[in-house]
Amino acid sequence: MLTQIIFIAILIISLGILTYSLLRIASFFKLTQSAFPIKDFGKRINISLQVAFGQSKIFRLPLIGLVHALVFWGFLVISLGSLEMIVDGVSGSERSFSNLGWIYNFVILTGDIFAYVVSAGIIIFLIRRLFMSIARFKGIELKPKSKKDANFALALILLLMISLAGMNVFYLHVHSENPEGIYPISQFLVPLVHNFSEQNLQILYSVSWWSHILLIFFFANYLPYSKHFHVFASIPNVFLSSLEPLGKIPNMQSITSEVKIMMNPETAFSSPEDGTALITRFGVKDIEDVTWKNYLDSLTCTQCGRCTAVCPANITGKKLSPRKVFIDIRQRMNDKGPGLIKQGKDFSDNKSLIKEYINTEELWACTTCNACAMECPLNISHPNLIIDMRRYLVMEEAAAPAGLNMMFTNIENNGAPWQYSPEDRLNWIEE
């Protein structure tokens, strides 16, 4: 009874803190702009099954992709077991779900296998991060803090798996007569603890059980402050992916009516239609200009660096790193969001996303080749956001590089990016 009360108290505190953290993120979302309407649910379910649950894009790097996919699938199965532990803890019973029969046996069986598979996967990840020199784990955007975060989260997952394996082994020993569920790997480890007394085994089982559940509570509350928030954000982000071809950069609908007025002399002096008066700024200068999707992308990014590793600008030594753009978005929201919430949209800290976080040299280096977006395992869209920031530079500050200004003038004057006369458009026929 007492342990039940303690468990419930810890559960309520954990959920309380988690709710606080998630509400804070939700309040940041309220600062963002609209993106696109959410429809085509069939397609969205399909893309979630393929890209999120099927891990299709992570397999673009087949070997290490497989390791990640195994860790992810393990996480899904093991989460079901964690749910049972919470029900057990609250109700004071043991193995609450065991009357589900073969489904239960299947979940426990795969969970037991995955406990070891995931451990192996995490050890591989840690070795890669700690002892190998892998280009995409470097970069100016990866501060020592990000590296510690990565290793700490991996270590937590490893401890989660060790405690789960411990739970299974000790449980099997204590209930050697008639265990619930099937433990294909743990059963072979039982002889290792053969000499332990019955009482010690019971204690060790409890220690494993409590360690596992407390680690889960801690991990859940650590995630909102870690790059590993992708555990929460990635499936929603894939579900909410843009369903358009990668080549499409959405038009700014907000300025279409303005352009139409400009092009039609009869309406040039009439009052603008509804909607146009709402434009406060063209493009993205700071965090309040980004869309909810850009912000969700930034919460989803786990800094794997597959985008940066394929970026032609980055590979050839330019400053642009697509990964950095999203790290900066999340950081900027953490820095400016609280002020915007407290003091309203006029709040200023005399900084902006462009310049203080992302400099123009990075933005102008993008070739919009979409290698980054193609590679991102979670369908983050980098080029669209980069173009949105260019829009601010061009349309608000007229700060395009000289060559581009010349190109704009040429298009305006003679309908081609080069300085040729429209009269010469058919010259290709004669030569």
Partner: protein
Amino acid sequence: MAELAGKGENPEYLFWVGCAGAYDDRYKKVTRAFTKILNYLGTSYAVLGKEESCSGDPAKRAGNEMLFQMQALQNIEILNGYGIKKILTICPHCYNIFKNEYPDLGGNFELINYTEFLKDQADLGKLKTDSSVFGNTSITYHDPCYLGRGNNIYDSPRLLIKSIANAPVEMARNKSHSFCCGAGGAQMFKEAEEGNKEVFIERTEEALETKAEIIATACPFCMTMISDGLKYKNKEDSVKNLDIAELIAQSLNL
């Protein structure tokens, strides 16, 4: 187009030549090669001529949405004025922007990239190519970003190459993993940012590693970049950079 419309004729396709197709000395040859194929096939088509104007792609990707939308609305007015339904393009940037970004502004056309068009003509038995001209010449193919990743067109150009020579020898990074030539996103019109290498040199080196005798491209910007890369590497005499349209036209002795 104005001439045909004056006579009350309605060609099946509008061939959108594009600015590079009209003005770039090297790429004009590609325009001519493609029109030779169209004439050979007896395709009913017209061009806008002096009424054609920039699709707005470089302006849009450089962040000048205002200029892009002005170009787009003007072009849409002209195209709709002639009642145009199907547009053939050689430039993947024009193709992409017409297909994906014009519809929201009221420009709804069926877009056909020339590699898909030629492949369809081959499937229909109208375009009969063989390997009599190119034989065993080894050809590699550079995927333009706006055809490949941008719009999922990877197979048609490869099948066309296979129809006139061997299947293309692939570069290390190909299809959806392909490496940009460096000119997209309006880079064509500005100096590159500081770095330790030019993107087009990196890609040209990769193409040269295949030891192919011809580097095939399917985009005017890619052609400029790869041709410059070949000059830079002093390979312009030993390795040729040809467009898919030129390869097909040559294979037909047009």
